[in-house]
Structure formats: C-alpha cells, structure tokens
C-alpha cells in the first residue's frame, strides 16, 4: 500500500488549497478527484466575481481554479489521481478509491483532509408534489449542462429559490435565448447577493416574488407548467391564491448540503446545523488526523473563504502527520441570540488569534456582534447589516479566552 503524509479527498478549490498548505510544510501529498480534472464546481461557474478577497481581482470560476491548478500540477510532491472515486475511509486512515485507469487504489495516510464539497437539494429533498416529468433540474445541474456540455435545458423557465446559483442561471438562460418567466423565493428575503439580484434579474426584467412557492407541477413526459402560490407567515401555501404558469423547465435553487456520505456512520462527530463535521481551529474533526474544509464542512458563499480555510486545514494536516500538533485542552464555541452557527466549534488554549466564522438566522440591522468568554467581552464588532446569506467572522485573541466562548448579537 502506498503511503502519503497527507491524502486529500476531492480536488476542488478546497482540496487544491489544502494541498498547497500541506506542501509548504514539506509533506508528501495525494489528491483523489472523481472528475476528469481538478477545479470542482468552479469549472462550471463561468461568471465573474471570484477572488476579490484572495487575489484582489475579479476572476471567473475557471480562471480562479486555473491559478490553483497550475500550482498543484507543477509540484512534483503532489500526486493527483483523476477519475478516482473514493469509496471508503477508515479511522486508521486507509483510503480506498477506484479509477478506470488505475483500478483499485489503496492509500495509507498520515492525515486525511475531507474536501468533497456539497451537493444541491433536489426535488425529492424538498418534497415537491406532482408527476416527475423531464424538465426539472437543480440549478447547478442545468449550469453544468449549459457551461460544460453546451446544452440548453429549456426555453420557458421558472426558478424556485433565489440563491446565487438560481440567479446566475436566470441570466445565463436568458443570454442563451430562453425566457425566464419568474423567480420565486419561499422566504421574505433572498439569500443571494444584491449584485446578482440587480445584474441577473433586474437587468433583464425578470420578476422576483418573495414568500411564494411551487405547489404542484404538471406534464406527463415533459413539464408543461407549475402552480405557484404565496405562503403565509408559517410558510404554508395559501391555496386559494394558487396561479398557473406554463413552462417547460423548472430550476431548483433551494440550498446546498455538504456531501458527507463517505463518513456517514463513522465516529466523526457531526453538527446538525451545518451538516458537516464538528472541528477545532485547525479544522480537525473529533477523529484525530482527519480534517475537513470547504463546502463539505459548511456551505460557503465565497470561494475565497474556502481557499483560506482549506489552506489552514492542509497546513495543520501536514503538521499532524509529522507529530507536530500538540493535543492541548479545548474550549467550546457556542452561539447566543441571532447566531445560527459558529465555526470552529472548539478552540485550543494557546497563543495567537483565531477567526470565528458565523451565520445569523435572519436579517439584522445595526447590531453589535460579540464574543464573550465566561461573560467577559473578548471582542465586539458593530455592523450595519447582517444577512443569513453572508458568512461573517469575528477575530479573537486566544490568550484572553478563559473558558467556553459565546458568539452572539447584542443591541
């Protein structure tokens, strides 16, 4: 069995940044990627807006991926296995994968970084009522068919969900000559960026209805239309106000879920809120030597944050592999008013600063974010507006931490 200091599962932006972090520590690295190339979801995100934080310029998805890919592929210390689907990972870190060229691949690892990304919630996952005709796609699947395979999925389109992928696809399909009749959002606010609402919908006069959902779909072989209705404050559709819209395509942009099937049923402690692992500030899971980063850990809105997080994980994974991570006591990071989750969920006692990333549970204006330990204020940050769609962080000084840390919103 071949041995590597660090084995990385998934070759998207998280996997590539983890590899770079680990290599800077001198580790031997392997990346296992099931697709035919590195880059993950970025390969299909042809719009720009990536890298403003990381590179200080706006790149398209493929351009952002290419910068990392070049670095990874030119480093002889990184072995890249493509078309290699990882099937299992054991607690003593044996990784098994299959590929058409290499057959069965079995690697033993000093440490492992999970970087499998996320997948989209589908029609089944949201319990859509009606037949299952052709023409219902997740927005990301339509994005891949359009941008990688060059195939337009429909002509008359309705989109459920106003997340960024749905908004971007509304513009994409309009650019390709399709008619996007309506974008609807269950919540009274969008989780998408303002910029996308203006430049993907308003620029093309595509209507966006809030507090609205799809109640039924019609069509036998191909979708012929959808029924839509406004929802009440308990998010239940008001059926008396149901309305029919004819269309041949329904795109779903209703959320992303970390793709953690590989570790389902393992000893790795999972968070019910993020659907990812519970980690410390090195992004180490509850099983020593197994790390997690990127969308498989928690869904990110900016790829820049993915790269940053995975670099931290890769660096720490390399240190773990050579026995250079001390196991010092941990303190819990908890959440208070208004904060849905904070990550990492635990931090070690020690020196230096650590960023606590968090998401709020709804839109807030003029609140102060606080991090307190045993009631003592460690850090506060005044904000103009906080929205669930935008991940934020508050940076604290570890040496000030006395016990558990709580991140909360205060007036």
């Amino acid at each position: 069995m071949k041995h590597f200091d660090v084995v990385i599962i998934g070759g998207g932006p998280a996997g590539m940044a983890a590899a770079i972090g680990a290599r800077e520590q001198g580790a031997s690295v392997a990346i296992l990627e099931r697709d035919v190339r590195l880059g993950g979801i970025l390969n299909q995100c042809i719009h720009n807006g990536f890298g403003l934080h990381y590179f200080g310029e706006e790149l398209t998805g493929p351009e952002y991926a290419e910068r990392f890919r070049k670095k990874v592929l030119s480093d002889s210390g990184i072995k890249v296995y493509l078309e290699a689907m990882v099937l299992s990972l054991t607690e003593d870190r044996v990784v098994t994968a299959v590929s058409p060229t290499e057959g069965l691949i079995e690697l033993s690892a000093g440490s492992v970084v999970l970087a499998m990304g996320c997948r989209e919630r589908s029609a089944g996952a949201i319990g859509l009522i009606g037949t299952r005709p052709a023409g219902i796609y997740t927005a990301g699947m339509a994005q891949r068919l359009s941008n990688v395979d060059g195939f337009l999925v429909g002509k008359e389109v309705v989109i459920l969900g106003s997340g960024d992928i749905g908004l971007i696809m509304a513009r994409r399909m309009t650019s390709e000559g399709a008619k996007v009749k309506l974008v609807m959002e269950l919540m009274p606010f969008s989780s998408g960026l303002k910029r996308n609402i203006v430049q993907c919908l308003q620029d093309y006069d595509i209507p966006l209805r809030y507090s609205t959902t799809v109640t039924r779909v019609t069509g036998k072989e191909r979708l012929t239309g959808v029924y839509v209705a406004p929802v009440d404050d308990k998010l239940q559709p008001i059926l008396e106000k149901e309305e029919y819209i004819s269309c041949d395509t329904l795109l779903l942009s209703v959320g992303l879920i970390p793709e953690n099937d590989l570790i389902a049923g393992s000893a790795i402690e999972m968070s019910r809120i993020t659907s990812g692992a519970v980690v410390d500030e090195y992004r180490q899971t509850s099983v020593p030597g197994i790390f997690s980063a990127g969308n498989v850990l928690h869904v990110h809105d900016l790829v820049d944050n993915v790269s940053e997080e995975a670099y931290v994980a890769g660096t720490a994974a390399a240190k773990y592999a050579r026995g250079a991570i001390e196991d010092t006591p941990c303190m819990q990071v908890t959440t208070g008013t208004g904060v849905r989750y904070a990550l990492p969920q635990r931090i070690h006692k020690g020196e230096g600063t650590v960023r606590l990333y968090f998401r709020v549970d709804k839109v807030y204006r003029g609140m102060t974010v606080t991090a307190r330990s045993e009631g003592v204020l460690l850090k506060k940050k005044k904000t103009m507006v906080l929205a669930p769609g935008e991940m934020q962080y508050i940076e604290i000084d570890k040496s000030l931490v006395m016990g558990d840390v709580c991140v909360a919103l205060e007036e």
């Binding site: 720009n48 430049q199 929205a387």
Partner: protein, 117 residues
Amino acid sequence: MDTTCIMCPMGCALTITEENGVVTVTGNTCPRGAKYGVSEYTDPKRMVTTLVKVRGGGVLSVKTSAPIRKTLVPAALKAAAGVLLDHSVHAGDVVLADVAGSGEDLIATADLVYTEK
C-alpha cells in the same frame, strides 16, 4: 429611475432623478451609494461572461476584457453566439476583437484544446 445599491450588503433602495442636467440620488445611506447611483443612471456598465461554440461540439467560456456599456450587452451576446471556434486557445487569448463595437475584446477564460472531429 429606481434601483438597488450593490456596493455593500445594506442594499439601499435608490431613486435617481435628473432635473436641468443635474442628477440627484436619494435613498442612499453613504456617499458610495450616490456615486453608484449616478454611474448607473448616466453610464451603466456590465462585464459579460458567456460561452462560444466549438466546431464539432462543446463550448468555451469567455468574458469581455473589461465592463462594457450595458446597452451593448445584447449585441455582445449575439456576437458571441455567432462564434464557431476551430482552433486551440489559451485562457486570456482574444476570441473576438472589439465585440459589438464596445472597444473591448471577448477573451477566453479557459484553455481549449481543439481536435478536428
């Protein structure tokens, strides 16, 4: 004209009016919003990212070398749709010069290895 400021997550609702050649922005919370409102009213620009076809099948992602006039976006998309690539290109190469008379080029955002089919 009504629009939303996109310069920060506040997303202020802006109203832009013109009287005797003077453009006024209201609804903004800070000066950045006023500046954005004026540019959206007088000379809005957009980056265009789209696809061009490759002879024999497949697509290549492209973008304009800089934002172009918003009014030229439909023409730029149409021009891109008319391209049929039959040679290899590198990311950054010009695919269509001076697209729709915008003064900007359409450039590849990924490598394409063309193989005759």
